[in-house]
Symmetry: C2
Subunit: 286 residues, 2 copies
């Protein structure tokens, strides 16, 4: 396989993740092309210097790519893998940025033999979505899961890792099942909690104009990820359903237990649970 | 009543909130004294310039105070109101910083007639507790609920407001029931969610060393307040029990509904709930 510096990279999808990646790649590869659904996205991305050129036509650009990065919502990624596969050059690398990996890797396993597939999941993002929010520093310092398939060659994995490092990320090799299991609790569940909290506030306090005057940092932080892109999150939840439901069930038990201790006024037991949560939180983030 | 500039302010409790308030008050009143349980706290607070002097003896200092600020956990505040009441000078103002107000105001109503009581709840804080974490800027820009009793004179309310403004806060007058109702959802519930999330992660993912390598910003923010001081939170939960339980019940319904939609694979309904949560979150924090 070519070195990253010699590669023509095509980024499919110029939203927040794709355009930030394209912007960060500049100078680390031969050329960066964009593939999008809307001409304005290409135009904007070229204008802002994120890509060298772009097109709306996969047939035109994909056969010329050394690396193709799918930066779209997970269910679009699943469709693109099947649609783009036949267009990809032998020896090219296909990597995605989807937040769930099991279904993506199953689809990647159906790719033509000559194509090297690699699952990817950067553990970063922000609530603003779209090209307008692009940030070449988005991936700096961020953990970036890479999930190779059995068919993925060591050279392809190395090239994927080199790409992650080029944009400032820390590649972490994880298999799909383990990544989806961890992401359910560490990323997808917090989103459900944030959404449910926002709905609770909407139903309990929004009729009182004082609510937003006194809203505190705890609420702001706990609800932050509820502002995430809906299509992206919907695809994540639908392709990691079982893990998310399992994690939510554990959460419910934990919350129910806390609520029970509060209702019973069992101070000693409640203090023990709160203290262990506190210790664990400080252990995680010293 | 005296102007704030002419007042001797006694801050009882030199943890994060008390010592930060004392530090911020410097220059805005005649003198600031500390009242604490441990000599080291007084020593440290004097050394760092937060207070002019301090004592461990309420009998010595309280009769000389124009304003007394109770900066301790809520159930300690409840005890101190009864214990300190007889020591307070006629015409002095007693204000607290507790996060729940109903029980505090009930206790304040038992104070000797000559004392002017005012409930207070600054909507700020941080996870680090104690004098070592003190920050004179802690209250800057923060909403600070003040809850007058029927017996509170307009002059006492004005003096309380002047104190809040002097430390950089925004005074918001709210009655105790309304404040406790709002705080349950906007502050106390997020704490329960954060603790339950940390426990979920502890039980689901902590056996996998990769978990902390890939933990993302969503988890970090959603779990942040789980690091809060346990005694403080325990007192809050126990003195706002009914409101917290009501709010948690609404939250559970919202979460259960989301979980149901995910389990059923009802994409359209799920998308609608997520989109409305997203819109609401952006409306709250544009």
């Amino acid at each position: 396989m070519k070195e990253l510096e010699a590669c023509h990279v095509v980024v499919a999808g110029l939203g927040l993740m794709g355009s930030s990646l394209a912007a960060a790649l500049g100078g680390h590869c031969r050329t960066v092309s964009g593939l999008a659904r809307r001409a304005e996205s290409i135009e904007q991305a070229v204008k802002r210097g994120f890509i060298n050129q772009g097109t709306l036509d996969p047939k035109e650009i994909l056969p010329k790519a050394d690396i193709v990065v799918l930066a779209t919502p997970v269910r679009t990624i699943l469709r693109q893998i099947d649609e783009y596969g036949p267009l990809l050059a032998d020896g090219s690398l296909l990597i995605d940025l989807g937040s769930t990996k099991r279904e993506v890797l199953e689809a990647m396993d159906r790719l033509p033999k000559g194509v090297q597939p690699l699952g990817g999941h950067p553990m970063c993002g922000k609530e603003r979505s779209g090209l307008a929010a692009a940030d070449p520093e988005l991936y700096v310092g961020c953990s970036f899961v890479v999930s190779p398939l059995e068919r993925t060659s060591p050279a392809a994995l190395d090239l994927g890792r080199a790409l992650v490092k080029a944009i400032g990320g820390r590649p972490i090799v994880l298999d799909a099942a383990r990544q989806d299991h961890l992401a359910a609790t560490l990323s997808h569940l917090p989103y459900l909690l944030a959404c449910s909290l926002v709905q609770t506030a909407d139903s309990v306090t929004s009729s009182d104009p004082a609510a937003w005057e006194i809203v505190a940092g705890g609420y702001r932080d706990t609800s932050r990820v509820a502002g995430s892109d809906v299509t992206m999150m919907l695809d994540i939840l639908s392709t990691n359903r079982r893990e998310v439901l399992d994690s939510a069930a554990v959460f419910r038990d934990k919350l129910d237990h806390l609520v029970e201790l509060i209702a019973e006024g069992d101070d000693e037991a409640l203090a023990a649970v709160l203290a262990s949560s506190r210790a664990e939180r400080w252990r995680m983030f010293p």
